[in-house]
């Protein structure tokens, strides 16, 4: 008996395909939903059933809870997997599923709500004994501030309570600078946000972003599967993730894991969740909890030999969590985004050729196919390349090798940025932090110039030969093929002479 009879996959792209794959392997029927631009998408073609939502923009399709619920009900789905993004952290949607008797493959609405409210989440974390960045949030006056700063230790930060995105932050290096900085910060906050409240927080130097993957069942059981290091970020978008984090000791790892599980227990959590921490110099501080599957979950899967989507479905069906196996080796994930690697601008267009990486220790989670139109409607992530090897050095080398093999023609991708990261001394030595991407030298070495320009000139030379009728013509001209091949793909030629 499968865990569920029929699962609606309320997402698109690689994560929809990811969920469909595991569901099918477990004998669960799958239902895809799709917006108008996604009619040909792989998740539609690979699911057992597909329901059109209409609309182009996310809010008219994948974010429209009523449409999604109607699709689930029309096909009599008994479960729904939200993936990540879209409706995955929408407490009301989770509740609506439950009300309709559809098992929401995620935490209860209350847990989503608690962790979605950042203030509430901090409060619960503090109560559960999870370390927070030390600071002083309330009742700020000069005396209390000085006392708190002395206790925390300099440098400290003054942040505008109403601020965000790095605005209204002042760093203070010693007590002498504290009061002048307070006045300036309050003035700045008033003019910028019309609200002069500020708060004090420890300035975490060289922070690393480290997160714990956990899984909780409906019976109070909680397990965790080690950590992931996600410090290679640009504008808070992760680009390269690895597991384990080279900075953690087994003792720190255990403390972080236990803290994450304590938080999950505090909100009666069920399902897959990730607790994000800032890590710096032997200390870790709670950032937030993501109440869903994380993009980078596969690096945990390959190390622990676990299928986290399977575990999600099991606990959603009422099973107990299973103890994780001992992790093995080192894993790295690279997110492949449709963007110009030099300017970071989104790159739109049609994927016209595709050559996937393969071989030992390489996993590709992708919804790429030839003919895919990359449009501005959705996220720019095209694929995730995951590698696994016996140790970190081999994993880095394997990831480089796979990146060289992976060829996407038609849109530019962020792969070269990942390659520069993997080749950088800072990443290789492992002593890096969330600022690494800004520091990496991405210039082309001068000694490559000859090769690059020769290859480009050779491409034009070939194109000219191909276009003309010059002697020395190489390759085949597709335009001269008999038109019948062009009908619907080429006919499979069984036992004919190769041309």
């Amino acid at each position: 008996m499968p865990l569920f009879r029929r699962l609606l996959v309320a997402n698109r792209g690689e994560i929809a395909l990811r969920v469909i794959r595991t569901a099918q392997e477990l004998g669960i029927e799958t239902v895809a939903i799709y917006s108008e631009p996604d009619r040909h998408a792989l998740h539609v073609r690979r699911a057992d059933y597909a329901v059109a939502l209409g609309g182009e923009a996310a809010r008219d399709s994948y974010l429209d809870a009523d449409k999604v619920l109607a699709a689930a009900e029309s096909l009599e789905c008994d479960a729904l997997h939200p993936g990540y993004g879209f409706l995955s952290e929408n407490a009301g949607f989770a509740r609506a599923c439950a009300e309709r008797g559809i098992a929401f493959v995620g935490p209860p609405a209350e847990a989503i709500k608690s962790m979605g409210d950042k203030v509430e989440a901090r409060r619960i974390a503090a109560e559960a004994g999870v370390p927070l960045v030390p600071g002083l949030q309330e009742d700020i006056d000069a005396q209390r501030l000085a006392a708190a700063a002395a206790e925390i230790g300099y440098p400290v930060m003054l942040k505008a309570a109403a601020g965000g995105g790095g605005k209204g932050i002042r760093i203070v290096n010693d007590e002498a600078g504290l009061l002048p900085a307070l006045e300036l910060a309050q003035a700045e906050a008033r003019s910028s946000f019309g609200d002069d409240r500020v708060y004090l927080e420890k300035f975490v130097t060289r922070p690393r972003h480290v997160e714990i993957q956990l899984m909780a069942d409906q019976h109070g059981g909680v397990v965790y599967y080690g950590e992931r290091e996600c410090s290679v970020q640009r504008r808070h978008q992760k680009l390269v993730e690895e597991s384990p984090c080279v900075a953690l000791t087994p003792e720190l790892r255990a403390r972080m894991g236990e803290a994450a599980c304590d938080l999950a227990r505090a909100v009666d959590y069920v399902g897959a969740g990730t607790v994000e921490f800032l890590y710096s110099e032997g200390e870790f501080y709670f950032l937030e909890m993501n109440t869903r599957l994380q993009v980078e979950h596969p690096i945990t899967e390959v190390r622990f030999d676990v299928d986290l989507v399977e575990e999600q479905l099991r606990v959603a069906a009422g099973e107990h969590v299973r103890p994780p196996q001992t992790p093995r080796g080192h894993a790295i994930e690279v997110r492949v985004n449709a963007e110009d690697p030099a300017t970071f601008f989104p790159s739109l267009g049609e994927v016209t050729r595709l050559s996937n990486p393969g071989g030992a220790g390489v996993r590709l989670d992708s919804a790429l196919h030839v003919g895919l139109e990359v449009t501005p409607h959705y996220d720019s992530m095209l694929a995730k390349l995951i590698v696994h090897a016996a140790d970190r050095d081999h994993a880095i080398a394997r990831c480089e090798r796979a990146l060289r093999e992976f060829r996407i023609v038609g849109v530019a991708t962020s792969m070269p940025v990942a390659l520069h990261t993997l080749r950088s001394e800072e990443f290789r030595c492992g002593d890096y932090d969330t600022g690494i991407l800004e520091r990496i030298d991405r210039k082309t070495p001068v000694e490559r110039h000859d090769l690059i320009m020769m290859a480009a000139a050779a491409a034009r030379f070939l194109a000219n030969e191909r276009a003309g009728t010059a002697a020395g013509f190489e390759g085949k001209d597709r335009r001269q093929e008999p038109p019948r091949w062009a009908m619907l793909g080429r006919v499979e030629r069984v036992g004919r002479m190769p041309r």
Binding site: H40, V44, V370, G489, V491, G495, R496
Partner: protein
Amino acid sequence: MKYHASFDGAEREFEFDRTAAGLVARSGDQAFQLDLSLVGDGSTFSLLVDGKSYDVVAAVDGGKVTLQLLGERFVVEVEDERERAAHAVAGNKAGGKRELKASMPGIVVDIKVAAGDQVVEGQPLVVLEAMKMQNPLCAESDGKVVRVACEQGAAVTAGTLLVELE
């Protein structure tokens, strides 16, 4: 336009109508709601039949359609009305000589018949070696060998006449 399909001994006739409500396929007294859409790679189409989804790779070579579907490979004969009418006329004129041709390039390693032999359907006539494999080529129907047109040890290309039958 009607399409007549035959596969594995079974036959069906299909007619496709693009209506305001979408594409409808009719076969006998059955009707299916279809959504049919070519993927940009030129060889794949997505087929939704009453909500069920199928990812189909198709190669159309005249009346022969080779499908990849659900992990399997099917070769289906499909004639449209006009072709069917034309073939019905031509069919009456057929019969007489038949030829066994090399279905792949290779080396003739064994000839199992001689001129004048009676053969039955499925009987191996010639063995061709290609890609390290020995491939027996068999009679497509009962008949009599008129002429053996190849020699043992000869390298032949695909399409080379090997045996004439009647």
